[in-house]
Amino acid sequence: MTPTDDDFAAFYASVFARLVGQLRVVTGDLQEAEDVVQEALARASMRWSRLRAYDVPEAWARRVALNLAADQARRGRRRLAAMRRLGPPAPEPAVQVEDVALLEALRGLSVGQRQVLVLHYLIGMPVQEVAKTLGVPTGTVKVRLLRGRQALAARLAEQQEEVRPGHE
């Protein structure tokens, strides 16, 4: 590895897990999140000499990963692409009951809604910055946030009702 490669390797090690966690909210699938993050970081490696000068190169990689996740969702080839790249699926780690409920609720949202939830609530970006990152108007971001939040709250409430059938 060259010194530049070492520099990139340090960047990779510091951001990979965090980005996967964030992208998991968008993709709803750990393997798929790993795949889009790996692809985004591969693209980052191609232009690392320029990206390393950025204040937050992680933001560039996140944006690419979010776009890739949206592309894959649109193409409907998420599972196929992940399996092609990663081979047979590795055993999934145990998932907590609360996570399953949230995962089910997230799957009911559009990719666009999940993207704004991640950027606004997880990363803490203001609405204007979310709009700039995703390349959409601020009004669109506000609508997606509102509808995503409402849909998520409604679905989680429904699930709570389902797990407490005798509670009326």
């Binding site: 990979f16 591969a42 191609m46 609360e98 949230l102 609530y121 989680l156």
Partner: protein, 248 residues
């Protein structure tokens, strides 16, 4: 909302803990493979354009050679107008776009039209246009019936554009260039048809710096010579001065 926010955060943190890095080395390898594919694709596209896919001949630098013998000379193919990509930078053309493309970062197109003149005369006008600020458009006209008219433009010692109209009997326009007085291998361009309502065919090409167009020979579809025309080497702007020949 803080509850939902907290749950999202916990969900993401759990994902981050479970993430299995594929390794920076794997990302670097994937990035390099991707870069190689991109470079290959760009190179292929460039070769396709230079090979005449847009109806233009690119006169490459060649070693001085004897004038062509009886062997075959490569013919650059033109494309039908409907197959050409649309340009974005130009306003609607006043006439028919018979050839267009991209060259050294700018768009160009060859537009032809028929202008009605007094006394029932009709002029065939061909205009080479670009969207580059520093390159002027160049046009030339000739009264029907046209056998050969040539427009040539470009600053001295730089790349020149040569375009023209020829009789519809011409299938191939053979260009004879010289460098420092030594003839180069001839270049054949396929004459471009502009449709049934335009009684002429057209050609356009880029001549590299240091080379001079000295003679044009028109050939019919059987390869028989229709006419030839020597051109004066001393003039670079506007129509070349014609020397004795059988076309004009």
């Amino acid at each position: 909302m803080s509850d939902l926010q907290e749950r999202l955060r916990q969900f993401a943190d759990e994902g981050a803990r479970q993430a299995r890095p594929l390794g920076a080395a794997a990302a670097l390898r994937r990035g390099r493979r991707r870069q190689q594919r991109l470079v290959g694709a760009v190179g292929l596209a460039l070769v396709t354009v230079l090979a005449g896919g847009l109806g233009v001949g690119w006169v490459v630098r060649t070693r001085a050679t004897e004038p062509a013998g009886p062997g075959p000379v490569p013919t650059l193919q033109s494309t039908r107008p409907a197959e050409r990509p649309r340009l974005r930078a130009f306003p609607p053309a006043r006439g028919t776009v018979v050839a267009q493309g991209t060259h050294r970062g700018y768009h160009w197109r060859l537009v032809v039209r028929r202008n009605k003149l007094p006394h029932n005369q009709v002029e065939i006008y061909q205009l080479f246009e670009t969207d580059a600020d520093l390159i002027a458009d160049s046009g030339s006209g000739a009264l029907e019936p046209v056998t050969l008219t040539v427009g040539q433009h470009g600053p001295p010692n730089e790349e020149n554009v040569v375009s023209g109209a020829v009789t519809r009997q011409a299938a191939v326009v053979r260009l004879q260039l010289e460098r420092s007085g030594v003839p180069l291998a001839p270049v054949d361009l396929q004459a471009i048809d502009a449709g049934s309502n335009v009684p002429a065919r057209f050609f356009v090409t880029f001549v590299p710096p240091g080379s001079v167009l000295r003679e044009i020979v028109l050939l019919d579809r059987l390869g028989q010579r229709i006419c030839h025309q020597r051109l004066s080497p001393g003039r670079l702007m506007g129509p070349p001065i014609h020397e004795p020949g059988s076309c004009v």
